[in-house]
């Protein structure tokens, strides 16, 4: 184990020692109960613990984030200055080789430069490790000493510990915002780089999508085409097929369970629907690709239809079935939010159940149900595995459900899985698609959540 590993292991020891010291010092202050101290001794211990352990912890986290970048930068510089680089070798490529275990061939260095890189990395790790250990020791020791100096009977240790704790809790809740910012920024920067190579107008309005030919960035414009309209259209087609199954089936299931089914039926049907929701999408994907797709193709042959082996229909049906429980449980919430008095009012007029549902309850629940549909559409648009496995790669601009189409998520996966060169328009295009996907689903979710919340407030 390297120095950094030991530092992580040592941190709990430091924390324990700090706690013990702080507590003992506070206990000594009480002078056997003759002096009153503000808080309990363990609060002083906790305070000293925080002061001693938090700075080293932050330093170690910072290392986690930037450490490998520093080591790599040092190594690249060392390899470049070593003079061992031969024609055609780049220092950064060699560093990548070292990380992926390609630096050695049958126990020997692949090249002198690879050997130098390995040595440099080991050197850098040792050097940075010692520096880090010194930094951690100084920070921890200083924190410990400062906190111990502050201990007096008047020190409001408990209040301070609680304030620090609350601040820590708040920091945790901000992680969610940091994640969102991280998503937006990472997608945004890569997408900007893509739009420097391909104009947004071509991307959003172009009708020819053939990214695979653009293997190198200098080929862009000559052979690779990034008109994403067929990709968006394919997403739309598969989403429409999925929704034309999920919406009616999900809504009617919810209605039946809420108004017609006896409690015995409800008790076992609801969990079974939840099972559908709990089945991983990769399972639906393999069902669509290995079972449903061939069945639909066989059926097409029988009736004389030309069905692609990876048809939009197979992916759409599997996706629709997967989303049924989602629609049904959200619709159920919306239907149950309609006050019972409306239902009774209608039944007391001599309306039948279905008249009551269609004419009174559904209109009253409409905003909630529309919200549910929007959330379902957003799920379908962002769904990946089913389409990756069952829909094709061919970017056909068609509305024919028997043809093969491709979707935004399929393209993201195809462009990014496998060998990637991070500066090529091909990989960057995936981020442009990802950014589009993120904003479309974000828009759908925001509208849906707002509609649903307004609707709930209306009946509360």
């Amino acid at each position: 184990m390297d120095v950094i590993g030991w530092l992580w292991l040592g941190l709990p020891l430091l924390a324990g020692a700090a706690y013990w010291l702080g507590q003992r010092q506070a206990l000594a202050l009480t002078d056997g109960g003759r002096v009153e101290i503000h808080s309990l001794p363990q609060h002083y211990g906790q305070l000293v613990l925080v002061w001693a352990a938090l700075p080293p912890l932050l330093i170690l986290f910072a290392w986690l984030v930037i450490g490998s970048t520093l080591v790599d930068a040092y190594t690249v510089a060392a390899v470049e200055s070593s003079g061992l680089l031969t024609e055609g070798q780049s220092a950064s490529a060699i560093v990548v080789d070292v990380h992926t275990g390609m630096a050695e061939i049958d126990g020997a260095d692949a090249s002198p430069a690879h050997g130098a890189a390995q040595a440099a990395i080991a050197r850098a790790r040792g050097m940075f490790g010692i520096a880090l250990a010194a930094l951690v020791a100084v920070a921890g020791g200083a924190g410990l000493a400062y906190a111990r100096r502050r201990i007096t009977p008047e020190l409001r240790a408990r209040n301070q510990v609680e304030r620090i704790l609350t601040a820590g809790l708040m920091a945790c809740s901000i992680v969610a915002i940091v994640t969102t910012i991280g998503i937006v920024l990472s997608l945004f920067f890569e997408a900007i780089r893509f739009f420097e190579l391909t104009s947004p107008i071509e991307f959003f309005f172009g009708t020819e999508w053939s990214p695979q030919t653009a293997m190198r960035s200098d080929q862009v414009g000559s052979s690779g085409r990034f008109g994403a309209v067929p990709v968006f259209a394919g997403t739309l087609l598969i989403t429409s097929i999925a929704m034309s199954i999920a919406i009616p089936v999900g809504l009617m299931s919810a209605i039946y369970l809420a108004f017609y089914a006896g409690s015995a039926t409800r008790i076992w049907v609801k969990p079974v629907l939840e099972i559908i929701a709990g089945i991983p999408t990769v399972v639906w994907g393999s069902f669509a690709a290995l079972t449903l797709g061939p069945k639909i193709r066989g059926f097409g042959e029988v009736v004389g239809l030309d069905v692609a082996s990876e048809s939009a229909l197979a992916a759409g049906i599997a996706m629709g079935v997967m989303i049924i429980p989602f629609v049904s449980s959200l619709s159920d919430d919306a239907l149950n939010a309609v006050p019972r008095s409306l239902r009774e009012g209608s039944l007391a007029m001599g309306a039948t159940d279905s008249e009551t549902i269609r004419r009174v309850i559904l209109p009253a629940a409409l905003p909630g149900i529309v919200g549910a549909f929007l959330l379902a559409i957003s799920r379908a648009v962002g769904e990946t595995m089913i389409v990756v496995m069952a829909a094709g790669l061919a970017a056909n601009l068609t509305a024919n459900p028997f043809a093969a189409v491709t979707t935004v998520t399929v393209q993201i996966v195809t462009l990014l899985v496998g060998d990637q060169e991070f500066d090529s328009a091909k990989t960057l295009a995936a981020f442009a698609l990802g950014l589009t996907l993120f904003f479309v689903t974000l828009g759908l979710n925001l509208v849906a959540l707002t509609v649903v919340r307004r609707y709930r407030e209306q009946y509360e």
Binding site: S263, P339, S341, L342, R343, E344, G345, S346, L347, A348, M349, G350, A351, T352, E355, R359, V360, P363, A364
Partner: protein, 252 residues
């Protein structure tokens, strides 16, 4: 006096719990019958038996005879949809549908196919609103949502909705409990006017209200009918001690 509805030996159970025991009661045509009693005495349960609204409650079981014009309404041959068109209901809390005022009143006629043409329907809606004493207030805004009205107006809208299908009996379950005194007075006046055309059964927790609007009063206690008779007699000279105690405020 003609007997419009009648129950004999009516028992109601919610699951294991018995809510009503052997209730014998006659509802006279074109009169207002008030059902009074402390909370939980079964008066609302009784009311809901008269148009089979208890069917909607899971686990509810009804036995005994309930007749409308001498026919058993729990007879399997009798259609509950038709029954409820003949025996309408107004609820404790105004429950207008989230539709326009016009559509609220037109709802019953539409589902039952009562009006054949649009102008028939318009006329029926206006007539029902007029009978409910609401037409003047809402004539200019029939397209506005029924939920935008005040509480008292909403309740009169619900009454208009109920009478639009020309029921024979109207059941009212504490129709004024959610209303302010002025709106209550308005609805009470309306009940008195409606009596000419309809038979009315009203559940109320207010003895003054029962005394003001009803011709006959039935007193329920602990799931049994204690005493029934002319309103004047019940309030001045009840036969049962329990009735006496209740109307003089010793319990309830």
């Amino acid at each position: 006096m003609k007997v419009k509805m009648q129950t004999r030996g009516l028992d109601v159970f919610y699951g294991e719990k018995q809510a009503l025991q052997s209730v014998d009661l006659e509802i006279h045509a074109n009169e207002v019958t008030a059902l009074i009693g402390p909370s939980g005495c079964g008066k609302s349960t009784y009311l809901r038996c008269l148009n089979r609204m208890n069917d909607v409650v899971p686990g509810c079981r009804v036995s005994g005879d309930v007749t409308l014009d001498g026919r058993d309404i729990y007879d399997s041959k009798l259609d509950v949809v038709k029954l409820r068109a003949r025996v309408g209901m107004v609820f404790q809390k105004p429950n207008p549908f989230p539709k326009s005022i016009y559509e609220n009143v037109a709802y019953g006629p539409r589902i039952h196919g009562i009006a054949r043409t649009k102008s028939d329907l318009d006329e029926l809606v206006r007539q029902s609103l007029r009978k409910a004493g609401l037409l003047e207030e809402v004539e200019s805004r029939l397209d506005e949502s029924g939920t935008s009205l005040s509480g008292g107006q909403q309740q009169r809208l619900c009454i208009a909705r109920a009478i639009a299908v020309s029921p024979e009996v109207i059941l009212m379950d504490e129709p004024c409990s959610a209303l302010d005194p002025i709106a209550t007075a308005r609805v009470e006046e309306l009940i008195d006017e409606l009596r000419e055309q309809f038979t009315i059964v009203i559940v109320t927790h207010s003895m003054q209200q029962a005394a003001r609007v009803s011709q006959r009063t039935a007193f329920f206690h602990l799931g049994s009918l204690v005493e029934v008779g002319e309103t004047g007699k019940i309030f001045t000279n009840p036969a049962e001690k329990r009735t006496q105690d209740y109307i003089t405020g010793r319990f309830g």
